[in-house]
Symmetry: C2
Subunit: 341 residues, 2 copies
DNA sequence: TGTGTTGTCGTAAACGTTTACGGAAAAACG
DNA sequence: CGTTTTTCCGTAAACGTTTACGACAACACA
């Protein structure tokens, strides 16, 4: 059914070598023959078989995107990733690269899935999401010399790979700034208990801003829980039971914020009225919650595009004339002021 | 770097044929040698190169999932798809199949992207989402004899391919039933104007239920708009301006419902109080909106798993002993009663 | 002992490409 | 006209597998 380069060559009475060279735009082929080849290719509806290409060239022209649903995300996963994925995929497609999505089982590490991709050479490079502070996927890929880029920074692996991160530190800082400007002094911070790096960055910014304002960091106002609604619901009462309860809470995750607001409501506390609330990563939920939640918003789709570019710039096969580059970028978040603070 | 089957054979002093047969569990290899091969494979960290396999076997062991963001979905895409994708990917992974995600540009057809996948043999089969009533992707794949399955039914292509759909007809029916039981007689239906098949199914159920209750269908109470918030916002006033305005509205899309509620609010109409509202596909937003929105919920993650199974059952290479089967299933939605109706 | 059967393995072709190499013809040059 | 260069193309190897086929030995059977 599918026509091969042999069919094309036979049809034109020339060798497959010439056909291949003509199609790949090599110089040593007569302009006339090239024309004939291209026309015949169109007529016979010929497209090169990717498996054959991959084998010969040692490159699959596909990139694996590895993300890991958090446990408890059964019903609806991170809305976070869809626009990112869209951008990533769009830019890769421009370079004729495919995107393979690899998910781990929620809650367990993904080493086996990753090893499989790498060892069987199913992809030319990997994009890692859900970056952890200490990330064994990064260690593995570095050691294996397999190209990759990460969404989010990590302490693992040095700066040998491109990374694109959101400026959670600055967001934590700005959130405190904003709350202090509005008269708050007792500000709680609630973040996921997982080793995810953004939780640390956020807390750094939070601490830095408090110090700048001469406010002492109260450990009772810092708490962490599961990175989902239940986690927020469980951990918020903890900070409220502090001797000296907060008048404002910054949540480092949208799902946790929603659970936290539920807990507050049950305590008779109304966000935006009795308690200021700021959410670090905005999702559509923040806009429709009542009260609407002030939040920091990333530009996910452009970030996807950008990380694709950064990954490609690090690959010898795709780097431009100035050679391969390892790029690190940290993107700011945009504050969306709403009713909750 | 990566060890090939030749390295393994050389190391063991046997032929690559035997190594391959040993690894693939064929019968004609001595139990002893098989043992040695397996051990050596583990020791040398050998995994078969997928490109080589694909070329020889004429199968890539990867499935393409094709979805198309609706125009206007810039910021956050369909939360719908992540859990479905998770299920799909999970089941495919159990069969050692990869999942490739192909998105079109929002708003335009995806024929070129699809053709590329098919013609270059980048995948063994395709899963189609955003099924349209008349879907040229289905026509193309049928004609090309390329295996595929769809999420959602279509009028194209006969029943030659597996399909898994949500029972929108029944949801439309039940929604009307519920509203009538609560005393409503003037019930509006708002759906996307695109050719997406579910919009038709929904309307069928809506009409059927009205007829059963002896209520005349008022065309002024049926409207369609862009499948996003703006669409709902624009089209809802239309039905409200009807001489005999509705006391209840069924929205066939969550984003349209939110836009519709916004329009209602601006008219001083409060959902759940002055107007009953039911949403056909539940998303997390429905749960957090104020008032919380009564909605019909699909089980997306199991649906993803199931469609993977159905696709595999239709593929000769994966079908069980009873041979290939083309399965069609329609899954019910679960009513989540909340405050808005 | 001769013949058929079974178990095990090696050989080599095949999948569809790309590409290094060399050769023939044409063109350029003296 | 001889020589060198250029242009163009064919040949064949290579990528890493799987698998059809045949070979050989061991074994069973008459």
């Amino acid at each position: 059914m599918a026509s091969s380069i042999h069919d094309l060559a036979r049809h034109l009475n020339i060798s497959i070598g010439t056909v291949s060279r003509a199609l790949n735009g090599r110089a040593d082929v007569n302009a006339d023959t090239r024309q004939r080849v291209l026309e015949a290719a169109r007529k016979l509806n010929y497209s090169p078989n990717q498996s054959g290409r991959s084998l010969r060239q040692g490159a699959t022209r596909s990139i694996a995107f590895m993300l890991q649903p958090h446990p408890g995300d059964q019903q609806y996963g991170e809305p976070f990733f869809i626009p990112f994925l869209t951008g990533l995929q769009a830019r890769l497609a421009e370079h004729d690269l495919d995107l393979m999505v690899v998910m781990g089982e929620p809650g367990q590490y993904q080493q086996e899935r990753l090893r499989r991709v790498v060892e069987t050479r199913r992809a030319d490079a990997v994009v890692l999401a859900n970056t952890r502070r200490e990330d064994d996927r990064i260690d593995y890929l570095s050691k294996a010399g397999f190209p990759f880029a990460t969404l989010g920074r990590s302490q693992s692996g040095g700066d040998t790979y491109p990374s694109l991160d959101i400026d959670f530190e600055r967001a934590g800082d700005e959130a405190v700034d904003r709350l202090v400007a509005r008269g708050h002094r007792r500000i709680a911070a609630i973040r996921p208990s997982l080793d995810l790096n953004f939780g640390y960055l956020f807390l750094d910014g939070y601490r830095k801003a408090l110090k700048r304002h001469g406010i002492e960091v109260d450990p009772n106002l810092i708490a962490d829980g599961f990175i989902n609604e239940t986690g927020g619901y469980q951990v918020t009462p903890q900070v409220m039971r502090s001797k000296n309860p907060p008048t404002a809470i910054i949540f480092n995750n949208d799902a946790m914020a929603l659970g936290g607001c539920k807990a507050l409501a049950e305590m008779g506390i109304k966000p935006g009225h009795d308690m200021a609330v700021i959410v670090i990563v905005d999702t559509p939920l923040c806009r429709y919650f009542s009260p609407t939640l002030t939040a920091f918003r990333p530009s996910l789709e452009p970030m996807g595009r950008r990380l694709a570019e950064m990954l490609l710039a690090s690959l010898p096969a795709f780097a431009g004339p100035e050679g391969t580059r390892i790029i690190h970028e940290v993107w700011p978040l945009e504050l969306i002021a709403r009713e909750s603070d």
